[in-house]
């Protein structure tokens, strides 16, 4: 598993993540009992709930590092790359949340999608951060990209409460969903707990690697740029 972006730290976290994943799948699929109410359906929740929390964590990290980039004293492209890497991993987890959520909905109520406030806000977040990643893809220098995406990330934070509040008013939370969460026995709670730990490790591991890949990408762009300038300077002095 050790690649060019690996260090002792990522290797340690990587191993811990893999061990955790094996535990998680074992508990999630086999060791934990069926739920009294929804029998097997609860196993999907073991992925759905942690990935939702990790997606929110990822977007908080993106917002904080965007603010750190914009603040004069702590301005550095590392913050920008961390914001980008965390947003990418966040979108991945949000995608998993939506996928497992709709599978769980299908299993529990026989319908893939339900227009209640939480699911709608999740979908909104997914699209918003797809927009954020599209903004990161625009041209311009690294500093322009960093500044532009930092502002968009902070604007996203401004939008979230607005959307959540208006969607909450529009379609209050479904009753069944809150009941299902209510009575999880301890073994199930433990699976959920393992899920959160493992997903957090996975998130950290992914972000560390992704951030270094972005750093290399920037370095490659800069090399390309320097080469062009050097060539022009040489050309001018002929």
């Amino acid at each position: 598993m050790s690649g060019p972006t690996s260090t002792r730290a990522t290797r340690a976290i990587g191993i811990a993540t893999i061990v955790g994943l094996i535990w998680f799948v074992a508990f999630g699929l086999f060791l934990s009992p069926d739920d009294a109410v929804q029998r097997k359906g609860v196993r999907i929740l073991y992925i759905h709930v942690p990935s939702a929390w990790l997606a929110y964590l990822a977007f908080i990290v993106t917002a904080v590092s965007s603010a750190a980039y914009l603040w004069k004293r702590t301005r550095s492209l590392t913050w920008d790359r961390l914001a980008g890497a965390s947003a990418e991993v966040g979108v991945l987890f949000m995608g998993i949340t939506l996928l497992t959520g709709s599978l769980w909905g299908r299993v529990s109520w026989g319908v893939y999608w339900v227009w209640d406030s939480r699911v709608t806000t999740t979908a909104f977040l997914f699209v918003t951060y797809l927009g954020y990643l599209a903004v990161r893809g625009l041209g311009g220098s690294h500093e322009q990209r960093a500044r532009r995406s930092a502002v968009v990330a902070l604007l996203a934070v401004l939008e979230i409460p607005l959307v959540h509040f208006s969607v909450e008013w529009w379609r209050p939370l479904h009753q069944q969903e809150s009941i299902a969460k209510g009575k999880l026995q301890n073994l199930m709670l433990f699976s959920l707990f393992v899920g959160v730990i493992v997903f957090t490790l996975l998130y950290v591991w992914l972000v560390m690697h992704r951030q270094r890949v972005l750093a290399m990408q920037d370095a490659l762009d800069d090399r390309g740029l320097e080469f062009a300038i050097a060539e022009r300077r040489q050309e001018a002095s002929l």
Partner: protein, 161 residues
């Protein structure tokens, strides 16, 4: 220090007193010459007289001034942009290849206008490939290549630009 302002601390303040004219003229093509110049004048609260004086000095007065910018020639657009600089009381002009894209007549018109402006006291830094034309205008010339100053062609070392 530029125009008495420290470029590090007062970056924003110096902008309003400097006029940059690059390849794009920064005009609203749907509006007429007078409307464009009046708009730019209004950003510094210039009076109607100042606006018409600016249009006058750039040789755009009369019927021409009510023509939408999109119908103008490149030379006329360039002069409209310069009129906007005058209307917004820019003291230092930074002109990037002002002659680019103009025909011979347009260049002569531009030279007379630039010479009149410097006579009226405007300070100008012109970047141009056309040595003879720029040479005729400049009181001091410096050759720049590959981002470094190569040499001083004419004009005193120090003293007024």
């Amino acid at each position: 220090m530029v125009l008495g302002l420290d470029l590090v601390e007062q970056r924003e303040a110096v902008r309003s007193r400097v006029g940059l004219l690059g390849h794009s003229n920064g005009l609203y093509t749907d509006l007429t010459i007078t409307e464009n110049v009046a708009f730019w004048g209004a950003t510094v609260g210039a009076s109607a007289e100042e606006v018409s004086a600016a249009v006058e000095r750039m040789g755009l007065a009369g019927r021409l001034s009510d023509v939408p910018v999109r119908k103008l020639s490149a030379g006329q657009r360039r002069r409209t942009a310069l009129a906007c600089l005058i209307a917004r009381r820019a003291e230092l002009w930074l002109l990037d290849e002002p002659h680019a894209g103009l025909d011979a007549a347009g260049r002569d018109e531009l030279d007379t206008v630039l010479r009149a402006a410097t006579a009226a006291g405007a300070m100008m830094i012109v970047a141009s490939h056309e040595m003879e034309r720029a040479g005729a205008l400049a009181t001091r010339m410096v050759e720049v290549a590959g981002g470094q100053i190569r040499g001083q062609i004419r004009g005193q070392e120090s003293g007024t630009p």
